[in-house]
């Protein structure tokens, strides 16, 4: 069993990267709005399912179908913001109102996809074939490298966005103090819309790269929402690097506990550890990007 350890860890890292990508989606939206997006996993589902729909067994080249799916999901994110979030925002609704609104969205979306696209699990070809690559002592599917590469690019890109661009800083400013942000001339509503577009696009991208590894279905969103949220909280909600690290921790733990304990108890072990981390460090392992003081809340 121990000889499997490197393989398990690598597998854990690959799934962890996906959780991390999803966690990053949570963090982006949280940084701009303090909203916890319980529909985050649905964006991942949409990325995969819409690619399948557009791809249609090769009618359209896969990269085109994937790009179309990411674009369409981004637009759906914008639509959700406009139709479900902005009316609440304008009336300064309580934070939990958003949670339930997005939970409702997270229930409607999979059903719509089931009716409109398919109820079956399906997949599309891996980007660079399926011949496993030998790396050190372990073999890895080429698609796994796509997952890791994309995660790295997204993490670096977002880190740069929030720390080195004025738009990224303006997004953080909105989360800290909406009124003062408006005084700076920051168009608050447009920024919120941008954060939805970003989260949706990133979620869809994650869905596109992960589908060849795991297949996709209308109902895969919720588990990814929960894992992504857990990863974001472990890493310090709002911290981009923390979200990725949180995802990796979760992924590796899950792989190890499924192998050494039982796959039945995988979730129990994973969430048990989350419980312990939260008890020891309630704000997560890393400092949140936007750490609000009691006064600002």
């Amino acid at each position: 069993m121990l000889s499997l350890l490197p393989l398990l860890v690598v597998n854990g890292i690959v799934f962890g990267a996906i959780y991390g990508l999803n966690a990053v989606g949570f963090s982006v939206m949280y940084n701009a709005t303090n909203i916890i997006n319980f529909a985050q996993g649905e964006f991942l589902m949409l990325g995969g399912m819409l690619t399948l729909l557009f791809y249609g067994d090769g009618r359209v080249p896969l990269p085109v179908a994937a790009a179309g799916a990411v674009l369409a999901t981004t637009l759906i994110g914008l639509l959700i913001e406009r139709a479900a979030i902005r009316p609440l925002w304008r009336r300064r609704a309580k934070d939990w109102t958003y949670v339930f609104m997005l939970f409702a969205v997270a229930t409607v979306l999979p059903n719509a996809v089931m009716l409109a696209i398919s109820r079956d699990a399906a997949t599309f070809p891996a980007f660079s074939g399926t011949r496993p690559l030998a790396l050190g002592g372990v073999t890895v599917a080429p698609q796994a490298l796509w997952v890791l590469g994309l995660t790295a690019v997204v993490a670096l890109g977002l880190h740069g966005f929030f720390n080195h661009t004025l738009t990224g800083k303006a997004m953080k400013a909105i989360a800290v103090n909406r009124r003062a942000a408006a005084w700076m001339g920051i168009p608050v509503e447009r920024m919120v819309a941008l954060s939805f577009a970003l989260s949706a696009g990133l979620g869809a991208l994650a869905g596109v790269v992960v589908t060849p590894l795991i297949t996709t279905q209308f109902n895969i969103g919720l588990p990814f929402t929960l894992k992504g949220f857990a990863a974001a909280v472990i890493g310090g909600l709002g911290n981009i690097g923390g979200a990725i690290v949180g995802g990796l921790i979760l992924g590796v733990l899950e792989a190890l506990s499924s192998a050494f304990v039982s796959s039945m108890y995988g979730d129990a072990v994973t969430y048990g550890i989350l419980l312990v981390i939260l008890l020891v460090r309630p704000s997560g392992l890393f400092r949140p990007l936007v750490e609000l003081t009691q006064e600002e809340i």
Partner: protein, 243 residues
């Protein structure tokens, strides 16, 4: 430059401003004084767009600002240094200042924004050494300087100041008011709201006295210092200090 006409602002059914009219001319330094609850802060929040106007007009250079959303008012030249500073605590001093110039991101060359940043750091040298520090870790006085600096980064034509001396040691308050005085001497138009009448009447050239949402007196600040009404309004709070 600014004409406020019969302005009414209400919190629900309670009118905080009950028909206030005042003017601020280009290059003027105008004060608004009055006791707690007189509507001074409400006036600035309405001018900056943070509170909706129930009736009346806010005319800036001929344009009614009532329909201009808050984020667009700064590009009309209105900047505010709010009560309680409201700096972005989790962001660095430098980031706070950069965001002050946000509305100019497409119009102003980078070199111009950098030059303004230098100007602010020259005005408040203590901020220079702290530019990478998070704003939340600054002292109250430093945060106030940052709030003024952040507003200046927008290159305002009209600077709204809400109790910039509140809660500060007298020497720090004097430093900040001194800096504002120098800016005014260079031509900046300022509207200063202060509970500390002595301070405000010394800094400004003309003032309005507010009481329960109405203007009860106005005139040159020098005259108002001798006005028995001002003394009467403040008699209750005189000697008890600011809190």
């Amino acid at each position: 430059m600014l004409a406020v006409e019969e302005l009414v602002v209400a919190y629900g059914r309670i009118q905080a401003l009950r028909g206030v009219s005042l003017t601020v001319g280009r290059g003027e330094y105008v004060g608004v004084i009055g006791p707690n609850g007189a509507g001074k802060t409400t006036l600035l929040l309405a001018l900056s767009g943070a509170l909706p106007v129930a009736a009346g007009r806010i005319v800036l250079d001929g344009e009614d600002l009532a329909r201009v959303p808050p984020h667009a008012r700064v590009s009309r030249g209105v900047a505010i240094v709010p009560e309680g500073r409201e700096v972005f605590g989790p962001l660095s001093v430098r980031e706070n200042l950069e965001l002050g110039a946000y509305h100019r991101r497409r119009t102003a060359p980078r070199a111009e924004v950098r030059a303004d940043l230098e100007m602010v750091l020259d005005l408040f040298p203590v901020l220079r050494g702290r530019s990478r520090q998070l704003a939340a870790t600054l002292s109250g006085g430093e945060q106030q300087m940052l709030a003024v600096g952040r507003a200046l980064m927008s290159r305002p034509r009209l600077l709204l100041l809400d109790e910039p001396s509140l809660g500060l040691a007298p020497v720090v308050a004097a430093e900040i008011l001194g800096a504002l005085g120098r800016l005014h001497a260079q031509g900046l138009t300022c509207l200063l709201v202060e509970q500390d009448a002595t301070l405000a009447l010394e800094a400004t050239s003309r003032s309005y006295v507010f009481r329960t949402g109405l203007v009860v007196a106005h005139g040159s600040s020098a005259e108002l210092r001798r006005n028995p009404l001002v003394e009467e309004i403040y008699l209750g709070s005189a000697g008890s200090g600011e809190c």
